[in-house]
């Protein structure tokens, strides 16, 4: 039986004048840009959340996914000067700057020899001094050490940077990385697409069209990707909706082409420690929950919405399972980027804690691989 809105949720939505959107979503119709802005202007996060929950339950019932993976950030030396970043160092030799040797990186994988993980997540700074072969060798070395691991790596920003730096097309970069062992792309680097905000946040990063084109190319090559949005810094509600609508349009295209596609959208909460936006207050839990809910409602063609607990905090991540999210990411080992920005969450959650988090929320945990196959009993 298809889930429907309860009468009380319908009444709650009517109270705030969103009954037309409740109708649209119930009928499976697409929400417009204007609808998205209206949703962001609404304070009643519970009602918007209940509507998002309808979509979530229609897609996934109670199922809630997680995985176990290893994060490798091979270097934090980065030419880009994004003002929200606490991780990057402009040059080698600066305080806390590092670049792993291949042996270091592989050592991290080897250290987990006996651990059940299914994925390595690799994202790096835009290092001006490394040859392209550093990355292909990194991939080969990781694959050789653990051929059973899926490698999800390199944001569109990195792909774009390599293309420019080494004089290759996006496709050439992607093909070379894939031949070396890359399986799929993460969704990072999208930040906010709208040029006004993007110029302020990360003026020297790939622009929206470039980001989308990298993903389009990956999809054409049959690769899966994810997508993200950095929310809660200087962007407006309109710019958030614009961002979601652009992602949705790309996904329409890729679904029509029938090869690769975006699997998961991950809203990333801005953190304000140790970066140039420290004066800005970090977004509250209310904003996080609302953004997750509206993402679920707007991105009707992206199957999964992930609550990245490292950034949202464990409590908000748990509650978000009733506000549209169906994925809690994983038992991440060795997360650096958000901890350098002041995230207070633990660096890794043991699997049993993650399972408890899901079951005590009244949902059903499923351990997945990168492609959302069930891979172990939860």
């Amino acid at each position: 039986m298809t889930p429907t809105l309860s009468t009380v949720s319908r009444m709650a939505l009517k109270r705030i004048g969103l009954d037309d959107l409740a109708e649209k979503v119930s009928a499976g119709e697409r929400l417009s840009y204007e609808d998205g802005v209206r949703l962001f202007e609404e304070r009643d996060v519970a009602s918007v959340g209940a509507l998002a929950n309808l979509v979530r339950e229609r897609l996934h019932g109670d199922l809630t996914w997680f995985n176990r993976n290893l994060h490798i950030n091979a270097t934090n030396v980065c030419e880009a000067s994004c003002i929200f970043c606490s991780f990057a160092r402009l040059e080698e030799g600066m305080d806390a700057a590092y670049t792993m040797s291949l042996e270091d990186a592989v050592g991290r994988v080897r250290a987990l020899k006996d651990r059940f993980i299914t994925e390595v997540h690799i994202v790096n700074g835009l290092h001006p001094g490394l040859p392209f072969s550093y990355y292909t060798e990194l991939l080969r070395a990781v694959k050789a050490e653990r051929p059973d691991l899926h490698i999800k790596g390199f944001t569109a920003v990195e792909i774009h940077y390599y293309a420019e730096k080494y004089g290759m097309s996006y496709e050439q970069v992607l093909v070379a990385l894939r031949e070396a062992g890359l399986d799929s792309l993460p969704g990072g680097g999208a930040e906010i697409f709208h040029p006004r905000a993007r110029k302020k946040l990360c003026h020297d990063k790939v622009d929206a069209d470039g980001w989308l084109d990298v993903h389009r190319t990956a999809h054409r090559l049959g690769m899966m990707t994810n997508c993200t949005m950095l929310f809660g810094s200087i962007e407006t509600h309109e710019e958030r909706v614009d961002h979601l609508v652009r992602l949705r349009a790309l996904q329409d295209e890729s679904l029509a082409a029938g090869r690769g596609r975006m699997q998961t959208f991950i809203p990333l909460r801005f953190h304000n420690d140790n970066n140039r936006l420290s004066k800005l207050a970090a977004p509250t839990g209310h904003d996080s929950l609302k953004t997750i809910a509206i993402s679920r409602l707007m991105l009707d063609n992206v199957p999964h919405i992930k609550s990245y607990w490292i950034m949202l905090g464990v409590k908000i991540a748990q509650v978000s399972l009733w506000f549209g999210a169906d994925d809690l990411d994983g038992t991440v080992l060795e997360e650096r980027i958000y901890h350098m920005a002041g995230a207070e969450t633990p660096q890794g959650l043991p699997r049993h804690e993650l399972i408890k988090l899901i079951t005590t929320a009244g949902r059903v945990p499923v351990e997945r691989d990168t492609h959302y196959n069930t891979v172990a009993e939860a």
């Binding site: 009380v8 009643d44 996060v45 209940a50 996934h60 409590k315 069930t374």
Partner: protein, 633 residues
């Protein structure tokens, strides 16, 4: 779905090691065919069976199969029944015959010989070939070697002195166990069948103990049947290595997933509407909502109720100070990290000067209430409290929110007074209201477990009744998340509601979760969803208590913000001190500016209140977070 008439067809193998997984199959439900592994794989591939005990090579190569979770045939080290055998050591081998009856073992042998530890031992020109099922052994003569699997491997002629156990060699090489076979089948198989196979395995494995030797030892020690994380890791490693050398297909290792839960929701609709409209819910109805209503819907109903009771954008909070006048306590509750025995070096009783300083500081930041709570000290009787209360009331314009029922009982005991006399004297000394602390869960069976020395439910309620009668107001509380059930929580709410019908003395209700400090997760982190559920339910059940307070101290500001849209109309207090909860690990300390910002960001208008929930002033900060120009107090 399988019915007794429409039996599920399964293929299994006739090896001893498969026996425990199939011995207890119900033949009225399953049609069971016994074959060698390769034949079982063919039957599944061609759709002649629904499910098979399948060599893993076939799982990874043949089709879109799913694996039954939890069960396998594997080994973690030597298994005795999958061997490379020869009359001579590997260095002298010229041919290696791989028995065609199991592709999984053949691929394993090839991996070990071409890439693994045997690579450096066998001659580079070793000829490897496959034989018909059961025909490999005849090649193991002279400088020939053979892969032998299953029961034949356990009954080998003595001339074959060189024996290499493949599962043992795999373990030495990778450090991982090896999976030989799993139950695998079509992706759409009914979940009941999966459950049944797992049940059959559990029962069958229990039969091993009764077997004669050497089978008993072989099946209990050498063969491993549990498909756990390490087994799955071994399987994935094998899959990846095999795929890389083109020996195996590239299918993912995918388990049958849990069932998407059935939708259980529609008939709750009426009940939720009833709650949202403010009609009184019975115990049974409230209990059912607790157990079955989705958080989203409970939240919507509570939100409607909140707006009906408080049709304004205002969200109140109070500036208060928790003064724990002593931490000496005779009670020793299991969940309390605050108390100290009298002789402990950290034991204290605050002096008048200390209390004066705390009150002065409170008044200077716009505080309107002092929350006086402490341990049960054996030498503090009613005179101490009267003096303390008169001192505070005569010197400061503060509401005196004081004492849990426990402390009242303690005073009665120390000073040998009736409850009525005690309450009367405390009220006369200036006590204005009582926090609802010490209520925990108002069910005696639970109280006995979590706080055996505390008062009974009836005593607690009696203290509140008496306080209300003397004109004092109080809050009511629920601390949950210990060993109580949903029914206990609802019972608790019923007891509060009954007393409120009688006295109308409760001005507010607040629930919070027990804060343990012993997990990887920040204390109490996995209680946030449950908190929102219980909180929303309380708004529906406590139809006669006007205000519901959010607990950001235990839940963090974000969850508390959400609760403002799910039943709460009050954001608690800005506390200058919060000793009790913080000794158990959790504090979300917030300033006035933080509290007002969180209220605003949630879409509301922050307003300061007193203990009676009267408004006492506007926000102290402006929208931009700066201090408001002339704070009205």
């Amino acid at each position: 779905m399988a019915t007794p008439i429409d039996r599920v067809r399964i293929a299994t193998v006739h090896f001893t090691n498969a026996w425990p997984l199939t011995a207890r199959l119900d033949h009225t439900r399953f049609e069971v065919l016994h074959h060698h592994p390769a034949e079982a794989a063919r039957l599944l591939r061609e759709g002649e069976v629904d499910l098979a005990l399948l060599p893993v090579a076939s799982v990874l190569t043949d089709g879109d199969y799913r694996i039954v979770p939890g069960v396998c045939i594997g080994a973690d080290g030597p298994v005795q029944s999958v061997l490379l055998v020869s009359e001579v050591p590997p260095e002298q081998w010229e041919v290696l015959a791989l028995d065609g009856c199991s592709r999984s073992s053949a691929v394993l042998a090839e991996l070990l010989v071409k890439q693994g530890p045997l690579k450096d031992r066998v001659p580079t020109d070793l000829t490897i070939f496959r034989t018909e099922p059961g025909k490999a052994l005849e090649h193991a003569v002279g400088k020939g070697a053979a892969l032998i699997i299953g029961d034949p491997a356990r009954e080998l002629p003595e001339r074959l002195a060189e024996r290499i156990d493949l599962a043992g060699a795999w373990k030495d090489w990778t450090g991982l166990p090896f999976v030989f076979a799993v139950w695998a089948g079509r992706p759409d198989l009914d979940a009941e069948v999966i459950d049944e196979l797992r049940r059959v395995a559990t029962e069958g494995l229990a039969l091993r103990e009764g077997l004669p030797e050497p089978d008993r030892t072989y099946l209990t020690d050498a063969v491993k049947y549990e498909l756990d994380d390490r087994m799955l890791s071994g399987l994935r490693r094998y899959a990846a290595l095999g795929a890389e050398r083109g020996l195996l297909g590239t299918r993912d290792v995918v388990l049958y997933g849990p069932r998407v839960q059935a939708y259980r929701r529609t008939d709750l609709d009426t009940l939720l509407c009833k709650g949202a409209e403010g009609e009184r819910l019975s115990f049974e109805e409230a209990h059912r909502l607790h157990l079955e209503a989705p958080i989203a819907d409970l939240g919507s109903a509570a939100n409607l109720r909140r707006w009906a009771l408080h049709p304004t954008d205002d969200v109140t909070y109070i500036i208060s100070r928790n003064i724990n006048y002593t931490n000496v306590c005779v009670t020793a509750c299991k969940f309390c990290a605050f108390y100290r025995p009298e002789k402990h070096r950290e034991a204290y009783v605050l002096t008048e000067d200390q209390i004066r300083a705390k009150c002065e500081e409170l008044v200077s930041v716009g505080g309107v209430e002092v929350l006086l709570q402490g341990g049960l000290h054996r030498s503090l009787g009613i005179e101490y409290y009267e003096e303390l209360f008169r001192f505070i009331k005569s010197n400061f314009p503060l509401n005196l929110h004081a004492l849990s029922p426990e402390e009242i009982f303690h005073i009665m005991k120390i000073s040998d007074l009736s409850m009525e006399a005690t309450m009367e004297r405390l009220a006369a000394a200036g006590m204005d209201s009582l926090p609802g602390g010490g209520a925990e869960v108002l069910v005696d069976a639970v109280r006995k477990k979590i706080a055996p020395l505390k008062c009974t439910t009836d005593q607690w309620l009696e203290a509140m009744r008496m306080a209300h009668k003397m004109g004092m107001s109080s809050s009511s509380t629920l601390m949950f998340g210990m060993s109580e059930t949903a029914a206990d929580r609802v019972e608790h709410m019923m007891r509060l509601r009954d007393l409120q019908d009688e006295t109308r003395g409760f001005v507010a209700f607040i629930c919070w979760t027990f804060q343990p400090d012993n997990t990887y997760v920040k204390p109490g982190d996995n209680t946030a969803a449950d908190y929102l559920r219980v909180n929303a339910l309380s708004r529906l059940v406590l139809d006669n208590i006007p205000n519901i307070q959010a607990s950001w101290v235990t839940q963090g500001p974000g969850v508390a913000q959400a609760s403002l849209h799910m039943g709460c109309n009050d954001f608690g207090s800005v506390m200058l001190e919060e000793n009790v909860v913080s000794s158990a690990g959790t504090t979300f300390a917030m300033s006035v500016a933080d509290v007002e910002r969180n209220i605003r960001e949630a879409g509301f208008n922050p307003v300061r209140r007193n203990a009676q929930y009267d408004h006492v002033g506007a926000a102290l900060t402006r929208e931009n977070g700066r201090r408001a120009p002339a704070p009205a107090t």
